[in-house]
Subunit: 126 residues, 6 copies
Amino acid sequence: MEDRYTKGLKNLEKIHPKTSKALIENLEDIAPDLGRFIVEFPYGDIYERPSLDLKSREIATIAALTVLGDTKPELKDHIKGALNVGCNRQEIIEVIIQMAVYAGFPRAINGIAIVKEVFDEIDREK
Amino acid sequence: MEDRYTKGLKNLEKIHPKTSKALIENLEDIAPDLGRFIVEFPYGDIYERPSLDLKSREIATIAALTVLGDTKPELKDHIKGALNVGCNRQEIIEVIIQMAVYAGFPRAINGIAIVKEVFDEIDREK
Amino acid sequence: MEDRYTKGLKNLEKIHPKTSKALIENLEDIAPDLGRFIVEFPYGDIYERPSLDLKSREIATIAALTVLGDTKPELKDHIKGALNVGCNRQEIIEVIIQMAVYAGFPRAINGIAIVKEVFDEIDREK
Amino acid sequence: MEDRYTKGLKNLEKIHPKTSKALIENLEDIAPDLGRFIVEFPYGDIYERPSLDLKSREIATIAALTVLGDTKPELKDHIKGALNVGCNRQEIIEVIIQMAVYAGFPRAINGIAIVKEVFDEIDREK
Amino acid sequence: MEDRYTKGLKNLEKIHPKTSKALIENLEDIAPDLGRFIVEFPYGDIYERPSLDLKSREIATIAALTVLGDTKPELKDHIKGALNVGCNRQEIIEVIIQMAVYAGFPRAINGIAIVKEVFDEIDREK
Amino acid sequence: MEDRYTKGLKNLEKIHPKTSKALIENLEDIAPDLGRFIVEFPYGDIYERPSLDLKSREIATIAALTVLGDTKPELKDHIKGALNVGCNRQEIIEVIIQMAVYAGFPRAINGIAIVKEVFDEIDREK
């Protein structure tokens, strides 16, 4: 049986193939165990669970990060993650617009500014 | 062309068939325009948009309400709403558990307590 | 020169004539200094400042408490306080409805439910 | 009868004469409907309502944005908006200082840093 | 080597001897894995870490729960938990009063109301 | 008897010897009374209280600021403050990691990024 870290790393690489290494490395010399916990708990325990597909999980995560505020690096990563697991661009935009209803327009406007930045980055890389 | 209020009422009744009237009536003698705005903007403008299906919208809403906290009446309504547009019980539970990752365990635990209350209500009504 | 506590008590009694004593007494046997700080800092230092009238201050406070969530006892007190310093009922309702724009509909709906409770209490006391 | 978009645009231009166009244009190629919703709902429906004057509405908005956090672009716009509808500089400062009471000192300190930035920008433009 | 669940259960029982069973049982028929995650991650991984003593951890937790709002059941449990790992009553009160500085007076006042309820419960049980 | 301002200044200088002056000076030409309130209330009234040691107070503050989000300048100051009153680096890291449990991983990850920035600044100054 695979251990939680191995499972988590697979999910992390599936969802964030370009940034998963940076996430762990950034934490390595300051709080390496936080890096390990991220691999093991969200990605090894939660995203591994079968009863909800990864696309729906990323929709929930984008909603959550938009509502929370002050989550720009995480929101950027999960917008890319959502694209990697099957969301299209308009679906991501829709989730963020919808957050105007539940968390107010400032959070939605900021979320859209971040989504625009991410899509521009992706288009430039092409 | 249907107006926003008519469209909103249809979506409201599709998502919350049992509570849509109470929502509007509760606001009628104190802030009737807020009732109208709810029908027109979230349900007439947002939930009407074609690029994201209602099931995904309810997943995003349950994530948002769990993260926000102090949203028990709304979360109860949208748990029922999610069931009405095609989520199954376990999917709703999964979204709320996942919020432990993004908003911490207290929000997830409270969300699960609310989901339990809703499922118990539904089971008793059967 | 009046000290901060005396000034604060005057403002507290002007804004919350019916509940000021209960606020202080409730804290007396558990955290009396918190009661003293409330009199001295918000009511003695802040509400005492001349550059903004009390009516505008209460509008700002009702906006803040609606946005924060989980502030029912404080919001009830400040709705009454707003009425005591010159707001009319509709102005209070307007501030709370407006919060739908900045903090989302759930906070506004909850705020309106609280305002309704307060107005009903006032009407019954008449 | 003027439609909501036309009314909203008038209010948007009255409150934010210098930034209203940028707000809509920034959203145009990524989420144009969000731009339209902002014109129609907050500015066409809410700021249009007669029972609360625009100055009081801006006081409520500045309170809300200070409390929310992570709202720098919106707070900058509404500080200017408050000046445009009749608030003086000290009144805006007072609202933000008062938020120390309801949302803690970090939110108030950040709000004051933003207000300083806005006033400096205005003074340089003169 | 003990597994995470066993370690977590020991910490959970040390910190919350009276409520640890109820916490897990409440989740058993609705989201048993969330119960398991609580034992394994916060109590098995985090509270197990040697570099910060349990008393300091509970001080941090009480600060966090007071700031978050809408966390009454968790705050009640952790007030008892803080007493169980060496905090005295006045220290807990001090942490909550201090939160007036960082999250505003409403959160501190609500926190003190909850602490009063807990101390009263403990005194009645004696 | 020392007045609140004098007491507050002493505590401010003990906790933040390098930044206390900048904090007050930054506010001097825009909101000098907010500067005075910070000295008098948090540092003169709260941090002066004897029933909780300064090290525990800084642990509570770091927890609170991590949970709140959008508090980078304050968190940087209080990380240094915590070191100045007896916390070691690992204890600060532990408090922030623990916040993953109560406020979710994004807040903890952002907190750790800030702590890393502060420790790097301190190391470069040596």
